[in-house]
């Protein structure tokens, strides 16, 4: 009994790098594998919390949301459709959506500064403390974003980092909602082509 308990603990508190890919881990999580869940958490929890905190700012709230995301991962693992994207994408998408829901639900969302998403993103790029890997990613994204028109860039950043709905953006920017939709779509297609994303 004691031996069993100890082994269980080791399987999830281990700090060794997980050898399996998030996709493989998620497939195992779908079968109820708690050790795989532990490894998947280790691989992606920093990303999830970073993204959620970017949108929500409030750390305690962000941790709450990140925890909800991973609980949802556990519950919904069997519904993940590998044909349509990667496990990382699925999980970060879930995280983004929950963060956006939270931003929109919160009282303060009405007073948000439209510039906030942009300012924050640019501040992040210059952060000296970040790892080389992250800096390279920043660099790639910044370069790709620079290829968009100013309006497209603004729309994409407000939506993704600010959590704005397109109707909110239309109101803030004083443009028709169709214009916002077009900017977001054209901007994202441009970004996709610049970054060489394949699905």
């Amino acid at each position: 009994m004691l031996a069993l308990v100890t082994r269980d603990t080791e399987s999830w508190s281990s700090t060794e790098p997980a050898p399996a890919s998030p996709d493989d881990l998620l497939a195992r999580v779908a079968t109820g594998d708690q050790a795989a869940f532990s490894d998947l958490y280790d691989a992606l929890s920093g990303r999830v919390l970073g993204l959620v905190t970017r949108l929500l700012r409030d750390r305690a709230q962000s941790e709450e949301v990140a925890q909800e995301v991973f609980l949802e991962v556990w519950q919904q693992a069997a519904r993940f459709d590998r044909q349509r994207g990667t496990a990382s994408s699925w999980i970060l998408t879930m995280a983004h959506r929950r963060a956006v829901d939270r931003v929109r639900a919160s009282q303060s969302s009405h007073d948000r500064d439209t510039k906030i998403g942009i300012r924050d993103f640019e501040a992040g790029v210059d952060d000296v403390s970040e790892s080389v890997e992250i800096r390279i990613e920043h660099e790639r994204v910044s370069r790709a974003l620079a290829k968009l028109t100013e309006f497209q860039r603004q729309a994409v950043q407000l939506a993704y980092y600010g959590g704005y709905s397109h109707s909110e953006m239309a109101a803030h920017l004083g443009v028709p909602i169709g214009t916002v939709k077009t900017r977001l779509r054209d901007g994202m297609i441009r970004l996709r082509d610049e970054m060489g994303v394949t699905s």
């Binding site: 009994m1 069993l4 308990v5 100890t6 269980d8 603990t9 779908a30 708690q34 280790d42 920093g46 990303r47 919390l49 905190t53 941790e63 909800e68 991973f70 609980l71 519950q75 919904q76 693992a77 069997a78 519904r79 994207g85 994408s89 970060l92 998408t93 983004h96 959506r97 992040g124 952060d127 970040e130 992250i134 990613e137 790639r140 994204v141 790709a144 994409v156 993704y160 980092y161 959590g163 704005y164 397109h166 109707s167 953006m169 028709p176 909602i177 169709g178 214009t179 939709k181 077009t182 900017r183 977001l184 779509r185 054209d186 901007g187 994202m188 297609i189 970004l191 994303v197 394949t198």
Partner: protein
């Protein structure tokens, strides 16, 4: 009419960036099966949005978050894989059935999904255990979420080692009897701890070691139990192990300040440790709503 903004083909960018309302998103996704190229575009833009996510600095969550999650998933049912869609033409109209109830669990991934009426009913018959469990989890979100939230704050201050918080530098720590057990837990290589608020005031810190199978509770600023009552500690088993609740001993002599007690019996993996107010002498099963619950893993 120069803007055709009701055209779903325009919405793939908004979709990827979560700029749609729930209704708009559902409407768009409903068209995907008829327009595979639209789905392909939406998927590729979704992957592009992921690049925006990767440009954000990761933030390492506190260790308590993982501990809390591991305890949660041990008692959280998983949704089944979606049934393979049978083409409508192959199915006689009369045999079309409403979606399986599992869709309810799937639809809302919130914490409340853990304790659906069905799983409650199925658990452990109509015994006192079942009644106690019901009571226990009546307000799981309130009890467990606040526990997790407080643990986050507490652990952020300086967790990881027992040195900052050993019984010897903790003024007024419980009885010496408890301390000797506490020492062993603190000294264990796999020492862990989590802190939660106690309803009615004060905090409870649970420390444990899996290798020892032992745990202890340290109460700080918790008022004395009402006259004729006592605090009783409990092990609450995870769903996976039958959800058994067993007494982990009484905690007498609490009166503000710091008090500790090593739990009797052996802590098994993934249990939640809780405390209730019980009649003097204790009860076999909890008879009141818990005033604290700390998941351990």
């Amino acid at each position: 009419m120069t803007e055709r903004h009701d055209d779903p083909a325009l919405l793939t960018g908004s979709h990827a960036l979560d700029a749609l309302s729930d209704d708009e998103r559902e409407q768009l996704e409903a068209t995907f099966s008829d327009f595979p190229e639209l789905r392909a575009e939406a998927d590729s833009l979704r992957e592009t949005a992921l690049q925006l996510a990767y440009a954000v600095d990761p933030i390492e969550p506190p260790a308590s978050m993982k501990a809390s999650l591991m305890a949660q998933i041990a008692s959280t049912p998983q949704a089944a894989a979606p049934a393979v869609q049978v083409p409508a033409a192959d199915v006689p109209a009369a045999s079309v059935v409403p979606p399986a109830p599992v869709a309810d669990v799937a639809g809302d991934a919130g914490q409340e999904a853990r304790f659906t009426p069905a799983t409650r009913r199925n658990r452990a018959g109509g015994s006192a255990t079942a009644a106690a469990r019901r009571r226990w989890f009546q307000r799981p979100a309130a009890v467990l979420t606040s526990a997790a939230a407080v643990a986050v704050v507490f652990l952020g201050v300086g967790l990881g080692v027992g040195t900052a918080f050993t019984p010897s530098n903790q003024p007024g720590t419980g009885t010496t009897q408890a301390s000797s057990g506490l020492d062993r837990i603190y000294a264990a290589s796999d020492f862990k701890r989590s802190t939660a608020k106690v309803s009615g005031g004060g905090t409870a810190t649970v420390v444990w070691s899996n290798s020892l199978g032992k745990s202890a509770v340290i109460l700080d600023g918790v008022a004395a139990a009402p006259k004729g009552k006592t605090y009783e500690l409990w092990y609450i088993g995870s769903e996976g192990t039958g959800g058994k609740i067993s007494s982990a001993g009484l905690m007498d002599g609490v009166a503000d300040g710091v008090h500790s007690a090593v739990l009797t019996g052996t802590r098994s993996h993934g249990v939640t440790i809780g405390m209730t107010v019980e009649p003097e002498g204790g009860s076999e099963q909890p008879t009141t709503t818990p005033i604290m619950a700390v998941p351990t893993a």
